[in-house]
Structure formats: structure tokens, C-alpha cells
Symmetry: C2
Subunit: 248 residues, 2 copies
DNA sequence: CGTCCGGATTGATCCATATCAAAGTTGTAC
DNA sequence: GTACAACTTTGATATGGATCAATCCGGACG
């Protein structure tokens, strides 16, 4: 397990919500300086996890939500039967753990896909604070509702779309999330293994692999291991939308 | 569209959160009398919709969440290509519209599956109130998080389970929701058509139909149209769990 | 620099479920 | 009571992706 880096009150790190380049993605507040101060009061910043380390484990006491600062996180559920179901990938600026706010234990396990730093928000303090800052409360509702919608989107992908459509959708989702961080939307490195992609999208690894090569042969992408280049974003968008083929 | 029944302040209906048999399921509050009073101040009770009527429509301005009082509700998304994806079924005591709290318009359409009465919670007022009542805020987080988990559960069902497993899971889910309302968990009437079940579970109608008859032949259920009797709940639970077959 | 090992790719085959097609059934409006 | 429309069931066939089985690649490590 990872060893959190202890942060003392008034440590130099404490000021960094103000400086954090992700502050507008993570838990953005009105430009009220003191609101951001109060958020900083409750957050534990800069905890680092190495690739493969667990940020939290399913069924252990639920204490905190975590904002990804850098790196990336995979969440998954382990069923009674021992199967894994990947429930999401989280990139910098995104909040992990919202699905656990209904229970006293974590509903899933969160694992760092690479060296990853996170900010920790203890739930109790967070709830106190959202009770005082309507903007922040609103934003929490926003994030949770967004996550519900993501779930529906995924359900839709899983129940109605072909392997190609699912993978195109994932690539485009990642692309736009990189773009939001002002990184290249066409040239990035997948943080997760083919296996994780397959599991997340309800496919076999082999299928994922085949679709990648098919896309490559069609000139839609270039892929070398985890390194991916989107060569024809429009065509990829067509792929996802062409579940509407029959309508035309 | 349905015509809401106008409720005047201080109408006799106003007192009914106290009396409502679902108050412990819907938005339960500490036994503080005055908290329930404040909830009553913001809720519009007793709006009735007939079968097929829309409670709200995707892409129209998001104003309110709705608690189902009686009857049942189906939510679904219509994609650009015109396909429908059923995202959920809501029974009495459950709150519809949480997935829309991130946007200014409804993320889905909610349709009454039968004659249905709902209580309306205008979001603005609801957010104000949750800011003042920590218990209520906590409960909102709870409900939303629960819905995220439901989504993951569904995604899992869709990506890993066979038609039989999906349908067994749905029947058991409905069963326990009926039980929560102190109705028979083994003898109930499905509020939705086979079509909706199929769509929700990512199956073809024909498959749903076949699985129902298969279950019937195996003596697990008796089904006559929408009337269903669960004859062997344990066996149904086995069906859902037997995705763990290979482990034994 | 070779060896080893987990992950990725490629190929061949099979199966669960979609799809197509056609009756049945139920409810309900006239 | 009849008849239409919507829903459901049943049967025959087709197929996308799973599964099984090698092989291949890249990086860590001796």
C-alpha cells in the first residue's frame, strides 16, 4: 500500500488550490478568495501513489473522495464471484469516490494506473463545507449528476453499440478529456492496458486488439502499444454515430 | 401532456409529507417535525399523470425532481439517431431526475407507465433547503451516489451477464423493491412492457420473451402477461450468481 | 546480450443472441 | 360483440464477438 505523504497544517503546500492549474476543473468556486481558502482548509494535498497502488479498497471504511492531480486512476468492482468490472477511468481534475457517498464503505477499488498524485477530501468535512457554500454544494450535485449520466451513456454503449463503436467512443472521450487539460487531443498515451479497456467496454481483449488494428488499417488511428494518434477524428465520430445507419 | 393539479399553499394536501406512507423511503429526515414542515413548504404534491404521459421531456428546461408516490415511471434517453435507451424504472418512494442536476435541461424523458402520482421538488428550492438541513443534504448525496452505483451495477450486468442472468436480476430487483413497500415480493405485476425490459437490459424483445417462458418451464416463475409470480426465489438468485460458475 | 514474462496480436472455430418472419394474444374503442 | 392495434410468443436462420490456441513483442533483469 501507498504511504501518504503527511501534510502539516500551514505547510507550504496548503496554498496550492489557488495555484492549482486544475482548480477550474476540480471543485471550482466563485472567485471568492475566502471560499477557496476554506476548501484548502479541509483538503489534504499531494498524496502520491505509484503505479498499481490502491488509493482505496472496496469494502473498507469510506472516508474521503479524491481529486486526481496528475496521473490517472482506474476504479473497479470485484464481484462475489471474484470477477472484476472496471467502472471508470479518472484523469486529472476529476473526482473519484462519488459512488461511495451512499455507504459507509467504498463501493469500489481505486488503483493508480501510473504514478499519480491526488488531493484528499474527507467526506465529513466536505459535507460540512458544502452545507455552508451553496456554490460548492451545487457543484457537488453537478459532478454526481454528471457521473450518473456517464453511467447511462456507458449502459447505452454496452447495450446498443458494436465493438468498433464502443472503442471509437472511448478514444474520443479520452481525446476530449486531454483537450480540456490543454494537451493534444490527437496524440496521447493510453494510461490503461488493453485488458482494462476490454473489461470496461464489455469486450474480450482480443476484440479490442482487432479493432485497434482495423482502425489502423483504415487510417483512422496510429497505435503503437499505448501510444495513440488519432488521424481522422471526424471518421471516428462517424463510427460512433453510425448506429444511426439505418435511419438514412 | 399532463395538466398538473394546482396546489394552493395551505391546501389540505400540504400536511401529507407527515402522513405519506413513503416518507421513510422518499426523503426521510430526522424526526424533527419542523424539518419535515420545511420540506413540505417546497414540495408540490399530488400531481397525477396518466399512462403514457410525460412527466418531463429530455432537453426541456430542468426545473424539478419528482418523487413517485404511486404508479411507476420509465426514464429514457433518445439519441440523435432517434433510438431509445431506457435508463431506469422508478417505483413509489424513488426520486426521478437526479441525473439532470448537472445541466440546465433534462437529460432524459420521464414517462408514466401507468396512472402515476408524483411530488414535485423544484431544484432551486431543494438546493436552498439542503444547504440548511445537513440531514437532507446527506440524503441527497446518498440517493445520487446510490444511482451512480445502480449504473455500475447495470453496466456490469450488460457487459458480463447472459440474458437469463440479466432478467433474473431485474425480477429480483423489482421483487425487493416491492417488498420494501410491504407488498408481496413474489407476486406482482410488471409495470413495463417486454419491450422496455428488453431495451433496458440490452436485449431483443424476442429474447426476453423466450427467457420468460424458459423460466416458466423450469418452474422458477409463473408469468401471464405482466402478471408475475416468483415461484423459486433462491433458484433465481442462483441464476444471477452463476456467473461465478467457473470458480467452483 | 540473452532470457523471461506479462501483455498484445493474430488466426480458427463456436455459440448466444440478434434478426427475420409469422402467428398468437390482449385490451379496448366503437 | 367485433375489430383493430399494440403487444407477445414462437420458430428458423445469420452473425458479431467470445473462446481457444499459438505466436509475437517489449521491457526488466540477471
Amino acid at each position: 500500500m501507498a504511504q501518504p505523504i503527511p501534510i502539516h497544517k500551514h505547510s507550504p503546500l496548503k496554498a496550492s488550490c489557488h495555484q492549482c492549474s486544475l482548480s477550474n476543473l476540480c471543485l471550482p468556486l466563485a472567485i471568492e478568495e475566502n471560499e477557496l481558502d476554506r476548501l484548502e482548509d479541509i483538503v489534504q494535498q499531494g498524496r502520491i501513489f505509484n503505479r498499481g497502488e490502491h488509493i482505496f479498497d472496496q469494502s473498507t471504511p469510506f472516508r474521503s473522495c479524491f481529486a486526481v492531480k496528475s496521473g490517472s486512476v482506474k476504479t473497479s468492482i470485484i464481484t462475489e464471484s471474484g470477477e472484476e468490472q472496471v467502472t471508470g477511468f479518472f484523469m486529472p481534475g476529476e473526482l473519484v469516490g462519488l459512488d461511495s457517498m451512499s455507504s459507509s464503505t467504498y463501493a469500489c477499488t481505486a488503483k493508480a494506473l501510473e504514478r499519480t498524485s491526488v488531493c484528499e477530501f474527507p467526506v465529513e468535512k466536505l459535507e460540512d463545507l458544502t452545507g455552508k457554500l451553496p456554490e460548492l454544494q451545487h457543484h457537488m450535485y453537478h459532478l454526481m449528476s454528471q457521473e450518473i449520466q456517464n453511467g447511462h451513456q456507458l449502459a447505452m454503449l454496452l447495450s446498443k453499440n458494436t465493438a468498433e463503436e464502443r472503442i471509437a467512443a472511448l478514444l474520443l472521450s479520452l481525446s476530449s478529456r486531454f483537450q480540456r487539460r490543454r494537451l493534444s487531443p490527437t496524440n496521447f498515451s493510453l494510461p490503461m492496458a488493453r485488458n482494462d479497456i476490454a473489461n470496461f467496454l464489455g469486450l474480450a481483449v482480443e476484440t479490442v486488439s482487432r479493432v485497434f488494428t482495423r482502425f489502423q488499417n483504415q487510417g483512422l488511428i496510429r497505435a503503437r502499444g499505448r501510444e495513440v494518434e488519432l488521424l481522422d477524428v471526424e471518421a471516428l465520430q462517424m463510427v460512433t454515430r453510425d448506429s444511426s445507419r439505418q435511419g438514412c
